[in-house]
């Protein structure tokens, strides 16, 4: 069993790495157990690159990449994909533009070809700019009536005031309405370039095939070496309680999120905080938070916590969906759990349970081609080392209760939080 498990863990000896002359990095992992391929890629072009007053431009641009290219119109592009039972989508996060695709193994070349066309030579047909704008505006209108989305935006806005991280990646109705086709073309020209493109592919193929495809579709992409813009300096984390609420008409439930900064993905604190968070708001039925808010008090169906880390900063969030009459009570219970968590170390039993949970579930995360490709991308993106998952068990087991306490205290305090909610009840501005 051990031998077989090792075979599934990607590492330096079974990940094939290739860098083209123009800077495109391609990592591949052959999985001959499967009949399919999964491809994922990231490059510059995330929401942080949005110019002032044009929030949502990066997102609008990424979503237009499969609406027709210089060589292939919208209908043909999707006819090719869908007839093969394949899919390829472009999206946009805070940091990067992304693409993800999957196909039967024999159609790997189609994914490379259409991904390259979308990234390198999108046509941005005027008709599709307008159609997509209307579709996105409808999406924003749905988002703006969804308490959990609104609470989450409110949290970001107050956790990262006057910073791109505080802006919604998909923009606002006002900014999206104001973006013109020239903005999109310019954004693409300024940001999409080969030198920071990383592609990861996992599935049933030979490394040679991947090399041939990468060269065929990406090698001729000229690297224009444009200057890199910098992201503004991060604001300070909250120094006291900042309570905000947005009223949304006609809702039965309030969604509440409490948040603060967390460690960056690259920080030494990330692993102890990740383990600590599992104890606090994940393990079993949503950890200590779930036990307090749901099991013991019956206040909410969901109550949990999460950490996410980027290259420069992270966030640590606590969320619950509660009846409006119970909102303040649920907030109180979550803050009590935060206080207890930074006052005393977790118990040996909690730590052992969570360590066993996190190491035991790794094979599940690496079960599918999508899981494998995304794991490899995480290692590459955050410079964790390609042996990260092979050392994962040891790394998790080496963390002590004191490590968790010490790391958590650097980020978490029950009296220093942004508390955002949305749903019934008057605004708190």
């Amino acid at each position: 069993m051990t031998e077989k498990r090792n075979m599934h863990i990607p590492g330096p000896e079974n990940i094939h790495s290739l860098t083209l002359e123009n800077g495109v990095t391609v990592l591949s992992f052959s999985n001959t157990n499967s009949q399919t391929v999964y491809i994922v890629g990231i490059l510059r072009g995330g929401g942080v690159q949005d110019p002032a007053g044009k929030t949502g431009l990066a997102h609008f641009t990424a979503n237009l990449l499969n609406r027709g290219t210089q060589s292939t119109d919208f209908g043909t592009f999707h006819q090719l994909l869908e007839s093969a039972g394949a899919s390829l989508s472009f999206s946009c996060g805070t940091q990067h533009a992304w693409f993800r695709g999957k196909a039967l193994a024999e159609d790997a070349g189609l994914l490379f070809r259409l991904a390259a066309e979308g990234l390198r030579e999108p046509a941005f047909p005027a008709e599709y700019v307008e159609r997509l704008r209307r579709q996105l505006l409808t999406g924003l209108s749905i988002r703006d009536q969804d308490p959990s989305e609104v609470a989450s935006m409110l949290l970001d806005a107050h956790l990262f005031p006057a910073h791109p991280y505080g802006q919604p990646v998909d923009g606002t109705i006002q900014t999206l309405t104001g973006i013109i086709r020239e903005d999109i073309k310019q954004f693409h020209a300024d940001n999409y370039r080969p030198d920071d493109l990383t592609i990861v592919i996992a599935g049933n193929f030979s490394p040679k095939t991947v090399e041939t495809l990468a060269n065929e579709f990406f090698a001729s992409w000229e690297n224009l070496q444009k200057p890199t813009s910098t992201v503004p300096i991060l604001p300070d984390p909250p120094a006291s309680i900042l309570r905000k609420h947005a009223f949304i008409e006609g809702k039965s439930q309030t969604e509440v999120i409490l948040g603060s900064y967390g460690p960056a993905r690259t920080s030494q604190d990330f692993t102890p905080v990740y383990i600590g968070n599992n104890i606090l708001g994940q393990f079993g039925l949503m950890g200590r938070i779930g036990k307090s808010v749901r099991s013991k008090s019956g206040l909410a169906y969901t109550a949990s916590s999460s950490v996410s880390g980027w290259a420069d900063v992270g966030t640590w969030d606590f969320s619950a969906g509660v009846n409006p009459d119970n909102t303040e009570k649920a907030i109180g219970l979550i803050r009590e759990e935060i206080r207890a968590f930074i006052e005393n170390p977790v118990t040996d039993e909690e730590l052992e349970n969570t360590q066993s949970h996190l190491t035991g579930r790794m094979p599940m995360a690496l079960e599918s081609n999508g899981g494998l490709a995304n794991a490899i991308l995480t290692m590459q993106r955050f410079n964790l080392g390609l042996d990260y998952y092979q050392n994962y068990r040891q790394m998790i087991e080496d963390v002590s209760a004191e490590d968790i306490l010490e790391a958590s205290r650097r980020y978490l305090h029950p009296d220093k939080l942004v508390i955002a909610s949305a749903g019934p009840g008057a605004d708190i501005q």
Partner: protein
Amino acid sequence: MTEQIHKHVLENGLTILTKELHHAPLISHWVWYRVGSRNEVPGKTGISHWVEHMQFKGTPRYPIHVLDAEISRVGGFWNAMTYLDWTTYYETLPAEMAGVAIDLERDRMVNSIFDLQETELERTVIISEREGNENDPMFKLSEAVRQAAFSRHPYREQVIGAMDDLRAITRDDLYAHYQRFYTPSNAVIAVAGDFQTADMIDQLAEKYNSLSSAEIQAGKIEPEDKIEAFSKVVVEGPEETVYFELSYRAPSANSQDFFSLMVLDSLLTGPTSLSMFGGGGISNKTSRLYKQVVEKDAAMSISGGLQSTIDPYLYNILAITSPDSDTERIRARIDDEIARLQDSPVSSEEIARAIKQAKALFAYGSESITNQAFWMGYAAIFADHTWFDNFIENLESVTAESVMKAARKYLQGDERVIGIYRPTAGGKR
């Protein structure tokens, strides 16, 4: 799908389905009960789902907070779901830990406590879950559409139950429901993953053989075959988005017509994935309705929904759009496409394409052991365990004539419900 499914029935009526898969050191173990909202009566709606929640509240052997840590500790993920025809509990975990899942599920099949205080705490959790659902306009529309589409069949109620019933159901009601439906003869165990079939069957038989073979007294449920007359339901809310839904009576998943309707749905609104755990879908930008509705700017999105159920349920076509759209124009475009399917045979290329898409979706879903176990048990509830193995074969038997026949039989304009969710201020219609 070359690995074989083994079926074994114990003397007490418990059905065991196994499928060996050795590509990852994992096992996925599911226990399915033939009970869902289909088995509920007015005044007690939501009771099956609530019983599912109570199954996490402990037995004498696994008290509440022991139970919720048991699977998580070994690195597994686990959960439960309740739907129209079934309630299911599952654990996916490292193969060597399978015994933990088997022991826990055997225990809570008959030994759950249903403590009075825990029941009351869970009442407010479930009410909170329902209030969370009510935040979504589609929940409210679906509730109204089901009431109009069924006059007496239990499918007319939401799985989560009516609010009045959730306030009134007692601990004894719940316990009686549990005792009635949670028996070996009403259950199917489905296990997929890294084990030896003979060992697995021995292990399960040893655990379950001592349980009694009482047959359950299920009330007779009369299917509703037709929507007797056209109706239109309008729900209004403060949102600024319009949801326009056409609902038709769909055949049982056990009918050959189901496969014809599945191909028809794929042509009209794009292929639908049958996977619940990873794999994902194929985009829908070349379907007949996408071209006629979205590409012609009548609505922002279009999708179809066909579900595998024991009794005839509903086939839905949903368009989402902005308040300035003309829903009558959307209806006319959908009706034109349906008429085209009723009047002229589709080409064999189109059917072949739908089958290739279904095959690809199967391949994606098969990468997950959890999906593979899910498919076996799920199929056993509404047909038998071979339903998924024969799925592609059944699709291949679909012809242009059978698609045309299905369009004529199931998609009649005077036997449907039109549901509209629109802004209170009023859209165009």
